[in-house]
Amino acid sequence: MTARTPGTGQPILSMRELVIAFDTPDGVVEAVNGISLDLYPGEVLGIVGESGSGKSQSWMATLGLLADNASTKGEVVFDGHNLLDLDSRTLNTIRGQRISMVFQDPMTSLNPYLDIGTQMMEALRTHDRSLNRAEARRRCVEMLDRVAIPDADRRMRQYPHELSGGMRQRVMIAIALLNDPDVLIADEPTTALDVTIQAEILDILTELQRERGMAVVFITHDLGVVAELCSRVCVMYAGELVEVGPVQEVFEDARHPYTLSLMRATPRATNTASSAADDRAPDAAEGAALYAIPGAPPNMRLRPPGCAFEPRCRCAEPRCRSEAPALEALSDQPHRQKACFRTGSSEDLSRELLDVG
């Protein structure tokens, strides 16, 4: 199990007031509306949100992978540089070397025309030309072994279509880790995989993270995965951060109505005999209606002046409509943050959310 201590020391990567806007034929869409967060060395940070929350775009910006019609404001500070301002040459020394990324779809992330070995060695030798082929190959085979791909030597000569989805994703992880990066960004890496394969991939990631001590950013919509894998979590909604804190605390003592709504809307499979957690989670009882958050996420072209979640929030106050709450530390637990004007315990807010008939 991952260490669940919150990040300590100096952050390895910081986002400061990051804004991402897309220029579309129908107008400017603000996908990310000024987020600030820190990533600490050695931690596993979960980024949770639904589609449109901006969770993927904010990290694509880090590596300069945004579409052409995107414009950014703010900073992403890594190793003293603002990654958003870097020229592509310098950025390329960081990409794949110090910050690596794994994507959702293993089918399309690998080049179908090159064998695995070639693609892996390319990743290695792009960043270290002095490496000779034999040595590079050895390291690749070693890494494939490390991600539990059987018969690694033979796999080097295989093509992506000869591997299953789970194996392809493991190859992607292997490639990402070849250069021993400081930060690994995983953008929904298991969403397209079966649940048993997902479990294996998560186990591998946990082991590798513990072994190498790199910081991992895990982007997902699945709260269960975050609970199992991550030490800290950021919850995003409509391009903004709404709640940040250590995973267990955020999930057991959520302070933002969206976080609470999300948890109540998530169906949870319980193996009732073997899990003691059941007694603490009455909403997980089968048959109980899920809390369906009314309405839908906002149109990003017509951002309301107040809180983005307000139209769907049962706990909303009049001021929520006109003023947007800033992300601030909780008064009783300063290491956690929320963007909400309401104060009150998790139970009180829950009751209000579910109460109105």
């Binding site: 034929p25 009314p294 839908a296 996420p297 017509l302 309301p304 139209p311 008939g357």
Partner: protein, 306 residues
Amino acid sequence: MSLLNRTNNQAALEAAVTTLQSRSLTQLAIARFLRNRVAVGASIVLLILVALAVFAPVFELLTGYPMEFQDRDFYSGKPPNWEAQHYLGTDYNGRDILVRTMFGMRISMMVALVAATVALVIGISYGAISGLAGGMVDTIMMRILDLLYSFPLTLIAVIALAYFGRNIMIVFVIIGLVEWQLMARVIRGQVLSLRNAEFIEAARATGVRPFGILVRHIVPNVTGVAIVYMTLIIPEVILVESFLGYLGLGVQEPDTSLGVLISEGANAIEQKPWMTYGPGIFLVVLLMALNFLGDGLRDAFDPKDR
């Protein structure tokens, strides 16, 4: 907590549903097309050329020379002479090239339109049937297509010339043999991909009859592609017609086409280059405009860009 709790839902729904006017896919495509400046420019050029062709008789008035009129003072091909109002010069028979080019363009366009439509109809039918039938029928139909594709155009044209002489029907037949194949393949491809689309499966699950599926679900989703390829087939047809005209097939005197004009001029291209330039430039511009238009339409209809 009921989903049907309208007051909450309504407000949020209204915020979410686009406040823009409902736009069908066709309207979206038109909007995309209009943003493409090259395509719009090409459309304008094309419209101008069509207008010129339609109003070809105007040029007879403008220059004072009817199409068949042989100007004695300008026999055996004279260079452009603005005072005499032979703006593009004359051909061997003293006929004004500008006027002949305009009429030639008219014929070329008419032939192109008719032949392309024939190619379209045959092509869509063949492609749709092949794609929908699938299995052995599809295989056989495609192999027939491959076979036809391998017939050399020149050979057929020469044989036809030997047999039938100069006859405009040859042009249609030959073009028909060649040009519908692209449409058939394209439509078949589109039908094949549609067959596996989830909304087609949904229609089957509903109980819609195969004919209903064809008419209500497949055809509307195929017309876009058909239009695009139509605009790409037309330039080819014009070229084929020009080629046939060059060979001496096709339209009868005194009618002429761009191809015939170019072929007449090509014989004397070193001494009397203007005979080729006139019709040649118009042909090139016409073909380029059609190609850019076709590209623009294809980009506009691209389903990935939804």
